[in-house]
């Protein structure tokens, strides 16, 4: 077993497996599943204009996010990642199953913290609120991204590169976590069997994460493993029916408004707050923070 896990692998094979899991899954799971969701909405007579426009806006925000990601990718990932890998890193790890599995675990762990940070600091929420602003919950919502959503992951994955993991492997692992996360955005699947719900993040757990019900705020940040939330006491099970969205609803399907509403709300708050120090604190304090002695 150990021998198998530590047997050297070829890059070309590893990239191929990730291609099947990360890229092709769009064709064989995500799109068919979304069609199934649309059929269900139609059956429940919920397939209305608002839902369609919401889905379209979701895809447009993804396009914008993807564009930013590509520009950043060319600048940061190939340069900074490889520089760090070659200059300030632990001994480089061999490419084997243990390296791949631990890399995915670390990427998942990083995802937990990066996601928690996106919720708990002002600038993070300004971009991540986009993902939470839909009143619906389906596969297309998974593609609803904010303008700065690509930046935090870089901050959190550079340390993984420093630990000796190949930058390309780190990147592929991050996409893998993201694809797993995508599959959780559905109302079709109820609760799964106990052991699965205990270890893994599931649609039920992620519905809670998207809830605007007070007890569901800032809970279940996980990517693949829900045990991170259990470990760091941010876990909340799905009990009450989830009301999707954010506490201050957006009420718009205009893709531009959707994409930038977090940033414009942040700017409005900055204008309201007095003093340079307080303005600075708006960026790093939790989104509901307000200076006390105003």
């Amino acid at each position: 077993m150990i021998e198998f896990l530590s047997k050297k692998l070829d890059w070309i094979d590893v990239e191929y497996w990730f291609y099947i899991l990360n890229d092709l899954s769009l064709v064989y799971i995500i799109v068919p599943f979304f069609i199934l969701e649309l059929v269900r909405y139609a059956y429940l007579k919920k397939l209305n204009k608002n839902l369609i426009l919401d889905s379209v806006a979701n895809l447009i925000t993804f396009g914008a996010f993807f564009l930013i990601e590509i520009i950043l990718g060319l600048l940061a990932i190939t340069k900074a990642y490889f520089w760090i890998y070659n200059n300030i890193s632990l001994p480089h790890l061999e490419l084997n199953w243990i390296t791949i599995i631990t890399c995915i675990l670390l990427a998942d762990f990083a995802y937990y913290w990066e996601h928690r940070m996106m919720h708990r600091i002002g600038i993070g929420w300004a971009t991540h609120t986009v993902h939470h602003s839909s009143p619906h919950f389906n596969m297309s919502v998974a593609y609803r991204f904010g303008p700065l959503d690509a930046i935090m992951p870089i901050l959190f994955s550079l340390p993984i590169v420093m630990l000796g993991y190949d930058p390309i492997l780190v990147l592929l692992s991050e996409v893998f976590v993201q694809v797993f996360q995508t599959l959780l955005h559905t109302e079709i699947i109820g609760k799964l069997i106990k052991p699965v719900e205990y270890i893994f993040n599931t649609p039920s757990h992620h519905r809670v994460h998207h809830g605007s019900n007070r007890q569901y705020w800032d809970k279940n940040y996980a990517g693949i493993l829900i045990i991170w939330d259990r470990m760091f006491s941010t876990f909340e099970p799905e009990v009450e029916k989830v009301r999707y969205g954010i506490s201050e609803p957006l009420n718009s399907n205009n893709p531009i408004k959707v994409f930038f509403h977090g940033i414009s709300r942040l700017i409005r708050k900055l204008k309201k707050v007095n003093g340079f120090k307080n303005k600075l604190l708006v960026f790093i304090k939790p989104p509901d923070w307000m200076p006390t002695n105003k």
């Binding site: 890059w11 190939t78 632990l90 001994p91 480089h92 390296t99 631990t102 470990m231």
Partner: protein, 172 residues
């Protein structure tokens, strides 16, 4: 939960996961020593590769773009600077010859044209070959792997006696 508990649990998690990975990597490299040693003797003996450089008919634009001048930065104990290589197609193989050294202050010196890298297979994205490394005045020929990052950058990675490295080759 207290911040210190969060931090402690996070660090413990990271140490645990990364520890497993490095232990496994270290253990399997130890096993590889004998294997690599055999291999290196093997490639030393046949280090004279067929030089049928005259047959220029086998052009393939999908792989031939690797031909040209490349630069690699090194920052190791006995050399801090750059080496410039010229990759040529010779028969079935692509060979890289050194043609210039540059130290960190920008002073250049002509190189002796050593054949340092032999790329034996290359599909336009990835390739395999033999790379000559020098360690304590001794030259070793080690198996290496090539992965294109973009058309102007590729990674050359090798692993020898548990000594592994990844070089970043940049087009000039």
């Amino acid at each position: 939960m207290k911040d210190s508990t969060l931090l402690f649990r996070s660090l413990a998690t990271i140490v645990f996961i990364v520890g497993i990975a490095h232990l496994a990597s270290y253990a399997s490299q130890k096993d590889d020593i004998n294997y690599n040693y055999q291999e290196s003797i093997d490639s030393n003996q046949k280090s004279v590769f067929p030089e049928d450089g005259k047959s220029k008919s086998n052009n393939n634009p999908e792989t031939d773009y690797i031909i040209g001048k490349w630069k690699v930065n090194y920052n190791i104990e006995d050399f801090n600077g750059s080496v410039f290589y010229n990759i040529k197609k010779e028969g079935k193989y692509f060979n890289a010859y050194t043609y210039q050294y540059q130290d960190k202050n920008g002073n250049t010196e002509k190189a002796e044209g050593l054949k340092t890298l032999i790329i034996k297979s290359f599909d336009g994205y990835q390739g395999k070959g033999v790379y000559t490394i020098e360690y304590e005045q001794q030259q070793y020929q080690v198996d290496c792997q090539i992965d294109m990052v973009d058309e102007n950058t590729f990674k050359l990675s090798y692993d020898y006696y548990g000594y592994s490295d990844v070089e970043s080759w940049k087009r000039q």
